[in-house]
Symmetry: C2
Subunit: 385 residues, 2 copies
């Protein structure tokens, strides 16, 4: 197997892009990534996207992006794993190079959630849950996360205010990210007084509906340095699943697929949680931050919140998370999120994260969650010496 | 790169399955494939599907099928490339093993097109075309194919009746396939007198809307024989794209992506069209059969129809196509079709195609087309000695 490295990155601002189609967004991020890699063509394009059909009436995004890039003949397809679609596409791109089938690969993530053509976006997102056994009962992702958060508070005795620093930290970091949707701070007081959406999930516990695209260019590590002054190695990669419906899980708060995919990624990379300089986790809802930290080995069961309370998640903390705003502040254009995380990891590992730079960042992890945890994809990245 | 072989196959009948959900269909095919491979678990599942979100309100089919199979922790995702989604999933499954990331892989294709939850199926299928520049003008896949067929007849002087044997052949073969949707013959006279849908496309020029699922199990070729008495090698694999909108193509009748993906697959396999014993082509519409034969090197431009007229496409002909009914008679559950083609190729290469057996079949090709040709995926298979 050939090792694979990232040699280019691109992203659009995350926003409500009322004036840009899904094609335009994907194209902008892809062109930036190609330009940053200093190449003008690739062998294959893998596009992470969840709900383009339901929301914009467009499937077949692989061919669409290949066409927009005028790359006639290129291999292309779309990869979907709910909100983990971006990381799933990265996984396929990595395998395409590792297998020797392709050399230069573009992986893009894109989602347009505003300006809906048909489906209501909340209903489209609910297609990540079990349509027959969950959605038919009226659940949405807000209510599923509310059930999990309530159960967590009940089991371990935490109050809602104990989660505040996940949000405060994400927004403090997003202030300095020009691509973030919300570039303003939120205080613990504002968090505490925010309106409730589905008790105990408040307005600031949920990531926003938004549009955006991000892209990376991959190449075989063996000649990545000849193409890029600062390639980043994909050192670990793993996908794991668990039952799609929350009610089917023996232990809904365990986030078992995060534990499994994390362990596989650690093993492939030959590292452990103690070696990581930062962790771009999937804070689509505040409760997910706590559960992810626990499943990845940074806290005992029920104690993930403590890392927020003690600010061990800050840029100078034990395990910085959401270093450029996370899903909460940068935004969560679902199929694009996994690639935004990777772009941000590359910025950190290249020492280009500016005000948000984690000191001496050499090794970082991203984790992208599909549905309420049914698919969890973990990648570990290392700056190449 | 490790070579990859098929060690198990499974399929459901293609039909209007009003009593089976998309989960139930995928599960049936997957269980049959696992049973035929004599294994009960895999490392990864790749699901080819196009319109589950729009039609059944369910995305996240990777996790859904993993869950239905009770394979906790397994890697899983959905792959989409319009009607070529099945073959795209096969491509990813092959790369997953070739890269060394996984050993045993299940690739399933599934589509449920009846019993729609939201979108009209014809509108959902149109999402394979360009939403902004084609669909907004009112085109559907029937009308796009009608434009291509009319142009072909105009350019090369053929009459509609000249296409009849593509349909007659497909149905003659489907009669003996217990999984085919239409197990009855159609005469040239019936074809000639069939009602017009979009001139010159008649009722029997178009494949049906239907439900179905098919699956294959893949393993490294190096130990495929220890797992299966009759493994089939994936000898060639290629994906190519061309502009998504028909009006953007310099030469709409050239099917350029078929030419490119065919050449790449031939090159990888080290064979040419003259070496193939059969060709499972993508006869979603009759015109596509003619264009595919030309692009794959079996006929000169404008002369693909001649192979039908001279019955060179029959089981005893120069290049048998649709040997178990093709999309026209077996049916075209879009995201599943690419895997049905592979299952049928395996049956031929194992000598298990019964009444439809191509004599001494050793090498076969499948080709799966997304949209009006924007994505075309070619695979070449060989019986392992």
């Amino acid at each position: 197997m050939r090792d694979v490295a990232i040699i280019g990155i691109g992203q659009t601002p995350v926003s409500e892009h009322w004036d840009a189609s899904i094609r335009a967004l994907a194209l902008e991020a892809a062109l930036k990534a190609l330009q940053s890699a200093n190449i003008d063509k690739v062998d294959a394009i893998y596009v992470g996207n969840m709900i383009s059909g339901e929301v914009t009436g467009q499937e077949h995004l692989g061919a669409l992006l290949a066409d927009a890039l005028a790359l006639d003949g290129v291999e292309a397809m779309k990869i979907e794993a709910a909100c983990a679609s971006g990381s799933a596409a990265l996984r396929v791109g990595m395998m395409a190079i590792a297998s020797g089938m392709n050399d230069l690969v573009l992986v893009a993530g894109v989602e347009k959630m505003t300006d809906t053509h048909g489906q209501d976006t909340t209903a489209a997102l609910a297609m990540a849950a079990d349509a027959e056994y969950e959605v038919s009962q009226g659940v949405t992702f807000v209510t599923l996360n509310a059930l999990l958060m309530r159960r967590y508070m009940y089991e371990y005795g935490w109050k809602r205010r104990d989660f505040a620093n996940f949000v405060v930290n994400a927004h403090a970091n997003g202030v300095h990210n020009p691509y973030a949707m919300f570039q303003r701070p939120i205080s613990a007081e504002l968090y505490a007084n925010s309106p409730t959406i589905a008790d105990p999930v408040g307005l600031f516990d949920a990531s926003p509906i938004c549009d955006g695209a991000a892209a990376v260019v991959l190449a075989p590590a063996e000649y990545a340095r000849s193409l890029s002054p600062a390639p980043v190695l994909i050192k670990g990669s793993a996908v794991a699943t668990m039952p799609i419906a929350v009610h089917s899980r023996h232990d809904p708060l365990a986030l078992q697929a995060a534990r499994v995919s994390g362990q596989r990624a650690y093993q492939m990379a030959g590292v452990g949680p103690e070696d990581l300089d930062f962790f771009e986790l999937h804070d689509a809802f505040t409760i997910m931050s706590a559960l992810s930290l626990e499943a990845a080995g940074f806290a005992e069961r029920g104690q993930g919140v403590r890392l927020a309370i003690e600010n061990e998640i800050g840029l100078e903390g034990r395990i910085p998370v959401a270093t450029l705003g996370g899903l909460k502040s940068r935004g969560h254009p679902v199929g694009a999120t996994g690639i935004y995380q990777v772009v941000e990891a590359v910025l950190q590992l290249r020492g280009l994260a500016g005000h948000n730079q984690v000191t001496n960042a050499r090794l970082g992890m991203t984790q992208n969650i599909g549905g309420s945890g049914a698919t969890i994809i973990t990648h570990i990245f290392e700056a190449m010496e």
